[in-house]
């Protein structure tokens, strides 16, 4: 067995040192009825070559994004990742390290997390950020719980244009904490009126920007309305590249900003692992109530700068049933990938990347808008928008597969009973060529 170093002789010798006759003696505490005599009914060990063949056979049944004209978004985006990012995160010292419990020999992880936190705070326009969450949806749910703790209120108002998976994850986490979650119906092309739902019991308003249909909005009126009632504004994003081009949520009055960082450094991976971003204002009650891990600066015995995990008194391993959350990890490696890619981009590169994405999306919207029967419903957008089709969007999407186009996400995939069967949510990124866009438009014309 290639991963197990002990030889039969080693095992015999070790049993002798322990003073037992067989390894079975070490399982003596297991009730007799629960001991298996032999292997379970699964295949026996496979060689490296056999595993590769089995995986290749399964992988071949999938259409990879790089093999088609690809326009699928709605919370995960295909971007080009520089080769050096994957190379660096595969370095043993990053890939095979654990949570930095011993900071003196984990400065690599800790310093990159400190850099990550600073990058996220600056991007979102907030004061502080944590060392990452599982993903954007869990970050969103945890932000609502944090807002309830901070405001000591128990009502959350969700925009109907929040990604429905984010809304569902939030409802699931809030349900047993007795937080009442109100939400509007989704509105393609507009922003629902969340302002009218804010009352004196409201802990927070959750608004996504760009929203799930791709529309971008001025959050300032919502922030003002929320603050007037003592509620917090939680701003959510699923496409972080947008922050290179549009105003930051912090500048528009958000109190907590959460979102998905997958676009930077992290591939599509069929939905995970991704990297949740979590940032907030620098306020005593905010920091104390923040979920997740935090890296902080300190000094060593010689007075030199170093980094540690800090403020752990909020966490489950100290506070147990009074912890701010049950989270005991972060997306360390994905946060590393994010921070490396963001460092390669820099401000100049991120702004250029964002502008390219927007330009591609505008050109795509114009091309598709020119197809008879198609209406682009999103006025202001970043790299994603929604079209109304004269036919069922899921059927159109299926028909386009054969023409080499993965066209986008039918709204019915997200809201099966939403009455939005003719809507298609379409994303464009820097990976889409002029030929991809022309192919999409001509293929769409053919299948309509």
């Amino acid at each position: 067995m290639r991963y197990l170093p002990l030889t039969p002789e080693d095992r015999t010798e070790m049993l002798g040192v322990i003073g037992v006759s067989s390894v079975d003696a070490l399982f003596a505490d297991v009730p007799q009825a629960a001991r298996l005599d032999g292997p379970v009914n699964l295949p026996r060990r496979a060689t490296e070559l056999e595993v590769e063949r089995a995986f290749a056979a399964m992988a071949k049944k999938n259409v990879a994004a790089s093999e088609t004209a690809f326009f699928v978004g709605a919370g995960a985006y295909k971007h080009h990742i520089p080769a050096s990012v994957d190379h660096l995160i595969q370095r043993s010292e990053f890939l095979t390290a654990y949570t930095p419990y011993q900071p003196e020999i984990s400065q690599g992880t800790l310093q990159t997390l400190f850099e990550f936190q600073t990058q996220v705070a600056r991007l979102t326009g907030m004061d502080v950020a944590n060392a990452s969450m599982y993903d954007g949806s869990t970050a969103c749910a945890e932000a609502v719980l944090m807002a309830a703790r901070v405001t000591k209120r128990s009502r959350a108002v969700l925009s109907g244009n929040l990604h429905p998976h984010y809304a569902e994850a939030t409802r699931t986490l809030a349900r047993y904490m007795n937080i009442d979650v109100a939400a509007d119906a989704p509105v393609p092309g507009g922003l629902d009126d969340v302002i009218s739902q804010i009352d004196e019991e409201t802990a927070c308003v959750v608004v996504q920007n760009p929203d799930v249909f791709g529309g971008i909005h001025d959050l300032r009126p919502i922030a003002e309305a929320a603050h007037a009632k003592g509620a917090l504004l939680i701003a959510v994003f699923t496409e972080i590249v947008s922050l290179g081009l549009i105003e930051s949520p912090g500048a528009m009055g958000a109190d907590i900003v959460v979102g998905e960082g997958q676009s930077i450094g992290v591939g599509l991976q069929f939905g995970g692992p991704y990297v949740g971003l979590f940032a907030c204002r620098n306020d005593k009650s905010f920091i104390r109530n923040m979920p997740g891990r935090l890296a902080g600066e300190t000094i060593d015995a010689d007075g030199r700068r170093g980094y540690v995990l800090t403020l752990s008194t909020r966490e489950q391993h100290i506070r147990r049933d009074r912890a701010t959350s049950n989270i005991c990890t972060n997306s360390g490696l994905m946060a590393l990938a994010f921070t490396i890619h963001m460092t390669l981009l820099g401000e100049k590169g991120l702004k250029h990347l964002a502008a390219l994405n927007h330009e591609r999306a505008v050109e795509l919207a114009d091309a598709l808008g020119g197809v008879p029967g198609v209406t682009v419903e999103t006025g202001a957008f970043f790299n994603e928008f929604t079209v109304k089709l004269p036919k069922n969007a899921a059927a159109v999407t299926e028909a386009l597969i054969a023409k080499g186009v993965l066209a986008g996400v039918p709204a019915s995939r997200l809201w099966p009973d939403g009455g939005l069967d003719d809507r298609l949510i379409i994303a464009a990124t820097e990976t889409n060529t002029d030929a991809d866009i022309a192919l999409f438009a001509s293929a769409l014309k053919e299948v309509l």
């Binding site: 991963y3 170093p5 002990l6 070790m14 003073g19 009730p31 699964l42 295949p43 060990r45 496979a46 992988a59 259409v63 994004a65 995960a76 520089p82 010292e93 990053f94 095979t96 654990y98 900071p103 003196e104 020999i105 984990s106 992880t109 990159t112 600056r122 004061d127 502080v128 599982y134 993903d135 998976h165 994850a169 699931t172 986490l173 047993y176 001025d218 290179g244 105003e247 500048a251 599509l268 991976q269 995970g272 902080g296 030199r304 170093g306 540690v308 800090t310 752990s312 966490e315 489950q316 147990r320 049950n326 990890t329 972060n330 994905m334 390219l356 927007h358 330009e359 202001a380 099966p416």
Partner: protein, 526 residues
């Protein structure tokens, strides 16, 4: 000056103006240099990525263009490579040596798994592209689910939890949903042993329960009398780790399962230590109702400095209907993912909801299945045996110099306490830091809480006998040094790490969480 055979200096030129060191940084001295932050080194007008020119297409941003600068420094590619490679060299990792963190299960991470996860058919597919275009990805999830259900002898598994603690939440939410479905709104007390991970009580509270601690008995297991005394009509269930965090198998687990079921509650088993019994004991046979499985622990997915994890959660027949969406089903030759509660309910299920966007940690699923197939049913059984053998070997080798917390053999981790350090002036923390100077990552310290000055060593099955012998020799030497009064090395340790002992109290009292240019560093309000 001393010269080697190539005629090059073997030591720095002592006459150089740089104070005895060469004016270029090279060789091992490069390991010791302070690495500035990207914010101190990069420039916002510098980028390491080339893009095509913009065409100048008219924007459609509705007047929401960013007006302020972001403040993100960039580095060219070579500068970025050096920055992160240098930082990487300040990290300990399992590829460098044993990482004996008890309850964390740091085993070898095979690179075949990485290669499989990066196949474009898995790494480059979108979670919302048409299901007809991801049949292989759905098949892989279905196949992994089959392995997990077979190894645990359970009829259902929820794949979407993103980490172990998230899996706990998944299991406890299903318990809450099952109780609600029975109309039992008064069952809100969850029994949690003292030795439980802090995530267990934190999880129970997030599901609207409150915790009632069960003490441990003298041999490190659940005190059965205390447990029985706590049973009652308001008990929702028990959260038990097995093998437990003292490294011991809960002998009375079947009785615990029967008693909690008779009392009308459910049995949550924390599966963090499944590593110790995989292929030899099926948790379903022990009477559990729900258990999460940390793929990174038992099935070797790399932990990347703190994540990602992945925590699929298996369910008994009683809880299976309440498992969350999404889940995969096979219909003839076709794989299908049920993504909505309405569709699940039409099939008779009662999912408690959705925990996360999309489908879970696909990248971890590929790695875990690659590891499982590599071992097979026979190899996985060997995994459990070798992990238990290695831990008992460490226990046997060290019990004469360190103090085992409990009598007898252990499962896959060996637990010591600090009695052997009594009156030496050396603390558990000092002892751990001294291990760093010897080239080893310390064990888990101060956990479990039921043992004073706990030191929990988990070698895992991927350590060789000779490696364990060296490790034990070092610990033996340190224990003897402490006892013989050679304590200065402990107080100053570590001296051979990239930094000396770090002031963690200062970091918490005066939190500096982001970098700022000004001299007065930002201070989080406290």
């Amino acid at each position: 000056m001393a010269m080697n055979q190539q005629g090059r200096p073997t030591r720095p030129n002592e006459n150089a103006a740089t104070g005895g060191y060469a004016d270029t940084i090279s060789g091992s001295r490069g390991l010791d240099q302070a690495e500035p932050l990207i914010f101190e080194r990069g420039r916002t007008d510098l980028t390491g990525v080339d893009f095509p020119e913009l065409k100048g297409t008219k924007t459609r941003l509705g007047g929401l263009e960013r007006k302020s600068d972001i403040g993100l420094p960039g580095l060219s590619e070579p500068e970025a490579m050096r920055h992160y490679v240098r930082l990487s060299r300040k990290n300990y990792a399992i590829d460098l040596g044993i990482y004996p963190l008890g309850s964390c299960t740091m085993k070898h991470n095979p690179r075949l798994n990485e290669k499989m996860a990066r196949l474009p058919g898995f790494g480059d597919v979108h979670p919302l592209q048409p299901q007809s275009t991801v049949q292989g990805a759905l098949e892989l999830i279905g196949e992994l689910a089959h392995w997990l259900m077979t190894l645990t002898n359970t009829p259902c598994v929820a794949m979407s939890p993103k980490a172990g603690a998230h899996g706990e939440l998944c299991g406890m939410m299903a318990i809450r949903a099952a109780l609600d479905a029975r109309g039992e709104t008064g069952r809100r007390r969850v029994l949690v042993p003292e030795s439980a991970h802090g995530t267990n009580p934190a999880t129970a509270v997030q599901c609207g329960f409150h915790c009632d601690e069960i003490p441990a008995n003298a041999d490190g297991r659940v005190d059965m009398e205390a447990f029985k005394a706590k049973l009652g009509p308001d008990v929702a269930g028990i959260m038990l780790t097995n093998p437990n965090t003292c490294g011991l198998f809960e002998r009375d687990i079947r009785e615990i399962a029967d008693l909690i079921h008779e009392a009308g509650g459910y049995f949550y088993c924390d599966g963090a230590n499944f590593n110790a019994i995989v292929g030899r004991v099926r948790p379903g046979d022990l009477g559990i109702d729900a258990m999460h499985i940390n793929l990174h622990k038992t099935f070797s997915t790399p932990h990347g400095g703190g994540g990602p994890g992945s925590g699929p959660t298996v369910f008994s027949q009683a809880l299976a209907p309440f498992a969350p969406v999404p889940y995969v089903v096979q219909k003839g030759e076709t794989w299908h993912m049920v993504e909505h509660e309405a569709e699940a309910r039409a099939d008779g299920a009662e999912p408690f909801g959705r925990m996360v966007a999309f489908h879970g940690q696909m990248g971890m699923f590929t790695r875990a299945l690659s590891y499982m197939m590599s071992h097979g049913s026979d190899g996985l059984r060997q995994v459990a045996e070798d992990s238990v053998l290695n831990a008992n070997y460490v226990l046997a080798r060290l019990k004469h110099v360190m103090t085992p917390a409990f009598e007898g053999t252990c499962m896959h981790e060996a637990l010591f306490d600090d009695r052997f350090l009594k009156d030496t002036g050396v603390t558990t923390l000092d002892f751990a830091k001294a291990m760093i100077d010897e080239g080893y990552h310390p064990m888990t310290m101060y956990f479990p809480l039921v043992v004073h000055g706990a030191m929990l060593i988990e070698p895992t099955e991927t350590e060789s006998k000779s490696g364990l012998d060296r490790f034990c020799d070092v610990l033996e030497g340190l224990a003897e040094a402490a006892k013989s009064g050679d304590t200065a090395r402990f107080a100053s340790a570590p001296v051979h790490a990239p930094v000396k002992r770090l002031d963690e109290t200062r970091a918490a009292r005066n939190p500096v969480l982001v970098w700022q240019e000004s001299e007065d560093q930002p201070q989080a309000a406290e």
